[in-house]
Symmetry: C2
Subunit: 927 residues, 2 copies
């Protein structure tokens, strides 16, 4: 009995229904149609499947929802019976010009008969009415499609049955009201606002504050008003009270919703094919509010907070699902059910076990008990905390429920990250004063201090301190080392404070602009509170929160279970995981977390420490090469001892040392501060000699500063213009390497030349490096194995990687810089002003500094990997930008066939897991 | 008679010579060797060609030099006779283990006999000695190879003949000395220093200041010393006095030099094949110093300065070539020869005509007259001035000597540029005070002024002024408009001063750091001179010179001949030439110079004019969208009238209007100036109200300024965050377009969205643009044809051009920005500090901001062109970066199949010619 209708147009639905043309047989249709007939039964297409006839593999035909409910039924669970009309039927519907295909309606009616038998209820039966839900269900979940229609089959007659069965006339009337409203909106296409207005009017009239306050009489009034609305909007047509008319119209509406604008847009956006069609699920309704032998609840097969293997959940007797959610009545723990309904509880326990075994994962289940009969309404994988995820994964392997690979996939990398930082105790009440950028994860509390020297002094005296600055600079580093964490009111995620704090693994909230820092007054004000020096407060670098007072925190542990999962991940992954680290302590931490090498040792951070900075500044300000060399000679022992420590800590593993990279002005005092000081001195008429040094420094900084320092004199350009700097660095490194070799320690230094844009830059830089290495080897009489390679961090380097690989033994993608130049985004400037608004407005899908941009940056990387290896097949390629610790980016690195990712030590466990996930995804895609 | 020698090792040369093994026939050799035998004569390879046997097409076999001299001989010119030993012989030499191939030496001896006959001299003849030169000559010119050995054949005996023939014993002895020195160094491989020391010793001993002061006796002493050096360095071997030994050794040395380190390195660097081999040219010497019936000279077939068709040159009787060059004697104009040697002169005239006709170009000829017999030593295309190049090219077409295509190729684009700017009169004596960057070409003089208002006032009073500033900013623009030219002591080629001056076509010298500008004192000091306000001085923006006083200049003309050449070029080229121009006056100029459209109209330059800037600043500082819109409304009439003017001027042609691009801080006062002023006021304790405005402006500038503005909030990012700005611009443009359409003027506006890095940015920007356009059309009741496209100026835009072309109707490469991000070079910072040193040190082949980098930037462009046209086959693609006016870059644009180049109006004629050159080169390469 096909429908010729646009189901959203109520005037046609149910009124223009015609019988199928008599002369047409389904067999001839089948031959002319592109719809594939179900195999086996020639000519008689099976359009409708009872739940028990399907299974999880039939997603194409039954849709995701239909296949899922079929699987539950098949697993022997007490699911409210029902049937699914196939996606094929939907396509046939369109091929016939929006008419049901021949035979479909007859199959629906036959299935309905089965349902009546199974439930012992009758569709339209006034005493024991069968009510059904009608849901769309495509192969892929599609939020843009038709919502669910519940309680279909209700009318004035069946309402009586419902009232009697539940003993609750209010409930029955309210259910009827809701059904008319939902059906009219979804199936008949009448604006929901009309019904809301009518409801509101009755509520005002009766002085009812909420829907629940409406009396039986008031509800009857509402229903009458609703029927009038339908009559008016449908040009005199009555609301369809005949249950079969309701069902036919609802099925037609689901089919039509497949080509509704929202659904089409959604498929276009998500690149889903338009010819898949949607299935329709018709399922019998059950009620938990049919007396004290009825009830409803939700439960997990294991504790989702701890992972403990106990049934966990809550339930209510004589209640509907909404009651549990609405919080009107307080639900009881699931354990109470054991006493109140012991038989049902035991059945539920058995089902829970079976479900977990069947789906091989923790299940989050919804159930209803109707007159002592248990129905499973839904089951799905249960969301769980990081701790629970890890424990459950390991337990399930031990229970032989899942494989190690599955266990690895059951833990999300982000959960590992959560487990590895000090966190604010989630049960603590906190007063948030301000929110800045989550610049370096972890939580910390301590006394507020406003300068580095004070921080250092207090820390030496055993105090915990948080260093507060407007922004930090190299002069502050010793204070940052002493502090528990850092708060700045200015600067982005790559500001000095953020970068240094991340390198140290200390919490940092940066750029908290609503924090007014008064350095002279030694206090800050935020959220209406003023915090004076010495007062305790808390920062949460994982969320960017600045919190009043001292808040309890939870310490991270690399628990046994987590270690187990990571070891399994190690066995799966192809990508190596290295760490970025500048100090021996970083190397030790990285090793503890499982790093297989140091992928980026930034030598300039070594320059920034307080005792060294004056030598660095003197070196920069040197007028002659000789003078510069003299100051470099003073720096050499420091660098040598740094290198000695890091190489020793990483004995037997590769350590990639990057030669000096940042523009020189980063080592000098702020131009603005100097300008103000000199101007003040001049204006006051101070004696010339009293500020001659400042004036000189100002002139030097002015000469060195650049309009766009990111694109200026830095990286290998510095080394090519001042070779003596890299000569010193290479000598310090190789003297350390030679010394360790003599001590019997195996070292694998790899020298990395940054910011190369042409082969010739690399060739010349390498020549300086090799010459110095040869000199050190000659002096020492010992040789050490080493490699020389380059960062690929400029588009031109990627585009000419084939040539650059002639000289480079390894590539390391500096994706922070590569993203900056590929997009033309200065990270410091753009992250707050442009990128965050762009992500908000969906101009960008995500922040490209957090997750690699596959189309642009990824394409350059792909060119570099492929062409670099064409020149040098054994080229090692890694990534050392911050993307190296981001799971989505690691997945791209796996696809690009990199050798390793390198990230901050604290991200190493995350990367180990993410690399395993990426490997499994790629392997599965290859299959 | 093969030589088994490394010719640089004198101990073997000439002493280990062996006869060819008797049992070996050339025919069997030929069969086993890869050397191809000359066709026709089976078994008897022709290793040696007399000059008269070769021609210009035989470069592979005879080398470039041999083929050239053969061609002259073949053309019937009196060339000193000689012969060429083939490149094949060189290869055979190597195949035989550095021995002459069989038969070669016999052919050399036979050819030498021919030479003796032709010259009526004898090799080794004491009375009338034949002397020869021996030169290498590969297919491609190779500076790394053997130098020439002159006067080979000289010894104690033939010296007598030379003395008698020239009547100049000093000359003969000096020639002999030079020969021994050169031969020893080049053929015997003895260090030249030894000879220089010996010569110096004799000069000291005889008190001779220069070589020319050495007496006959002293020269004899030198020769004796030289012979002693050879004896010592060759372990007792004497200098080879036997001419045939000299010749054999010299030929072997040439062959061996092919595999010398310098030559191999050169070929590697220049990617020249190593198996080409070198030929050896042996040519008889002639002497112009054999009496008054001898002489030497140089001449051009036309005047190389003016192009006038007259023989032009100079000569000396009884002199050698060196005498003309050395300036010891003053040469006479070539016309004097007509009287002194009428017969020879007439012969020379005839030869000159024949040569010009033969080579179809102006010839620069060297000749020698030996005893009344004229010899042509060399002829080559003559270098000429820009004026001459143009006149000669046009004249030769009229004389039917060359085709129009050839005429077009005879003028270099750089010559057109020279003709189109005011130049310093080359004959003027100038005093250069300083040299800065040649920031905008042309010369200008005027009175020094130090601020914009004064410049404007003086200019209104009819004075010519040059504006002098440390650097310029938008406040200075009205002064720059009034001035003849601009001088700044700071800033690069893209500084404000440079960009604005180039846009205006005014001369500018920027970043002249040795010019000390004292704004308060209204004077500048440079080169030890102080120039006060009102004093005249001159700048040359083509060379960067700052010149004392008023220097005469030459005005540019688009002369009839130049126009003719450009019209011929127009008929050849495929690339269109458009112009960048922001004002109606630019458009008019561009049209006069032949532009076919406006490829870049920078709307923000319109913002910078003095009356508008306050509105622009108020707009930027607006706290609300409404306030911003109010200020934008005030700007609208200005923009509309600008657009009206430019569209009208370009009636019938496309005009590409770029929406606002630069970061907003560029429209605001300098942060540094404000900071100093506010700090001063604060320090002085000025009343708060007196500098509240400054303080407010300082805060605004501080909020807006960026660490790397080049990569910050600019381009389409501005428009997406403040759509009201582009809405105003689009409205102004379209209201102008609609108005003109109503007036019957055909307009073709094309709206260009800058700094796009993702498709989505373009899609959203375009939506704002289209919405505003539709609104204007609806109000006006008129529609205008328009296009919307985008700049491709970020690597990501190029890498995702296939997607971007879905929304863009045209692409325009912004290669300034694209070069910046591809290389990671901030032009302002890097040009002086990095790029110029890089080019000096050959790390870069050229400045990538001047000539497109093919490997990196060019590859991105290629990706964008190909993938953009895959999406949209009719996509128009142009370039509007400064490369659009650079001939080498235009050649790349031709290869990339762009539709047009766009450059500053003054570069349009250059680009027209360069585009024709590029077309011809590509076409020829395709053939």
């Amino acid at each position: 009995m096909p429908v010729t209708t646009k189901p959203r147009s109520p005037r046609k639905t149910g009124t223009t229904a015609k019988s199928a043309p008599a002369g047409r047989t389904t067999s001839t249709r089948g031959a002319r149609s592109s719809t594939k007939a179900a195999p086996g039964r020639r000519g008689a297409t099976k359009w409708v499947y009872l739940f028990e006839e399907g299974n999880a593999q039939m997603r194409d035909l039954l849709g995701g929802k239909g296949a899922g409910v079929a699987e539950m039924t098949r697993a022997g669970l007490p699911v409210p019976p029902g049937f699914t009309i196939t996606t094929q039927a939907c396509n046939a519907f369109y091929e016939r010009g929006e008419q049901f295909p021949d035979g479909m309606w007859a199959q629906v009616l036959a299935s309905l008969k089965t349902l009546e038998r199974q439930t012992r209820k009758g569709f339209g039966d006034p005493v024991n009415p069968l009510l059904v839900s009608v849901r769309s269900g495509a192969k892929f979940s599609m939020p843009g499609m038709m919502d669910t229609v519940l309680n279909l089959g209700l009318n004035e007659t069946t309402l009586q049955g419902l009232t009697r069965l539940t003993g609750d006339e209010r409930f029955a009337l309210d259910t009827h009201r809701r059904f008319i409203q939902l059906f009219s909106k979804i199936v008949l296409g009448i604006s929901g606002d009309l019904f809301e207005h009518a409801l509101g009017a009755v509520k005002s009239k009766h002085g009812a504050a909420s829907d629940a306050d409406l009396s039986v009489a008031a509800l009857q009034e509402v229903i009458a008003d609703y029927r009038e609305i339908v009559r008016k909007e449908s040009k005199g047509q009555e609301f369809p009270d005949e249950p079969l008319d309701q069902l036919r119209a609802a099925i037609g509406a689901v089919f039509s919703s497949w080509n509704g604008k929202r659904a089409v847009d959604y498929r276009n956006y998500n690149k889903i094919a338009h010819d898949l069609g949607t299935a329709v699920n018709v399922q019998s309704m059950v009620f938990g509010n049919m007396g004290e032998d009825s009830g409803t609840g939700v439960a997990f097969t294991r504790d989702p907070a701890t992972g403990e293997k106990v049934l966990f959940g809550e339930y209510l007797t004589n209640a509907q699902g909404e009651d549990v959610v609405a919080g009107v009545r307080t639900p009881k723990p699931i354990a109470a059910m054991a006493a109140e309904m012991p038989t049902v509880y035991r059945q539920f326990e058995r089902i829970a076990k079976r479900l977990e075994k069947h789906y091989r994962d923790v299940q989050d289940m919804e159930f209803t008990i109707e007159h002592g009969k248990l129905y499973m309404l839904q089951t799905r994988s249960g969301k769980r905390t990081a701790e629970a995820a890890v424990k459950i994964a390991v337990d399930m392997v031990h229970e032989r429920l899942i494989s190690r690979e599955e266990a690895v996939l059951r833990v999300e990398p982000v959960q590992v990250d959560q487990l590895l930082h000090t966190r604010i105790d989630p049960s603590a009440k906190v007063e948030v004063l301000a929110t800045g950028l989550a610049a370096s994860p972890g939580a910390a509390y301590g006394k507020a201090v406003f300068d580095a020297d004070r921080a250092e002094a207090l820390a030496k005296a055993g105090e915990k301190v948080i260093m507060v600055r407007i922004e930090t600079n190299p002069d502050d580093v010793h204070g940052m080392i002493a502090a528990e964490g850092v708060l700045t009111s200015r600067g982005g995620r790559t500001s000095h404070a953020a970068v240094v704090a991340r390198g140290m693994g200390k919490p940092c909230v940066a750029g908290a602009e609503s924090v007014l820092v008064d350095l002279d007054g030694r206090r800050f004000t935020a959220g209406g509170k003023t915090v004076y020096e010495g007062e305790e407060f808390t920062i949460d670098g994982s969320t960017g929160r600045v919190i009043a007072g001292k808040v309890p925190t939870i310490q991270p542990e690399l628990s046994g279970d987590l270690e187990q999962v990571l070891r399994w991940a190690d066995a799966i992954r192809r990508l190596q995981v290295w760490a970025n680290g500048d100090y021996p302590r970083d190397a030790e931490l990285a090793l503890r977390f499982g790093a297989q090498g140091i992928g980026l040792c930034r030598t300039e951070h070594m320059f920034m420490e307080q005792v060294r900075l004056p030598h660095v500044q003197a070196m920069i300000l040197s007028a002659t090469t000789e003078e510069r060399k003299r100051h470099l000679d003073e720096l050499l022992p420091f660098q040598r001892s740094d290198f000695y420590g890091i190489l020793k800590a990483m004995a037997g593993l590769p350590v990639v040392i990057r030669l000096i990279d940042p523009p020189l002005h980063e080592f000098l005092p702020s131009f603005e501060d100097l300008l103000v000081e000199v101007t003040q001195a001049e204006t006051r008429g101070d004696p010339e000699a009293s500020f001659a040094d400042k004036r000189k420094m100002l002139a030097a900084v002015r000469a060195i500063r650049e309009q766009n320092p990111m694109l200026g004199l830095r990286g290998c350009r510095l080394g090519l213009l001042y070779p003596e700097i890299i000569e010193m660095q290479v000598r310090a490194l190789m003297e350390a390497a030679v010394q360790l070799t003599k001590e019997g320690v195996k070292v694998y230094p790899e020298i990395m030349i940054p910011l190369v844009s042409t082969l010739e830059e690399l060739r010349r830089s390498k020549a300086y490096v090799v010459k110095e290495i040869d000199a050190v080897f000659a002096e020492a009489g010992v040789k050490v194995h080493y490699k020389i390679g380059t960062m690929i961090e400029l588009p031109r380097a990627a585009l000419t990687a084939g040539a650059i690989a002639e000289e480079a033994e390894f590539f390391s993608f500096g994706t922070n810089d590569l993203t900056q130049t590929t997009f033309g985004f200065s990270r410091d400037d753009a992250e707050g002003k442009i990128i965050i608004p762009y992500v908000d407005q969906k101009i960008l899908p995500s922040n490209p500094f957090e997750t690699l941009d596959r189309a642009g940056v990824g394409r350059l990387m792909n060119i570099a990997v492929i062409e670099g290896r064409q020149t040098r097949p054994d080229l090692t390629v890694g990534i050392c930008g911050e993307h190296g610790g981001d799971p989505a980016s690691i997945a791209i690195c796996e696809k690009l066939n990199l050798n390793y990712v390198s990230c901050s030590p604290y991200r190493v466990p995350v990367a180990r897991l993410a690399a395993a996930h990426a490997r499994l995804a790629t392997r599965d895609a290859d299959r």
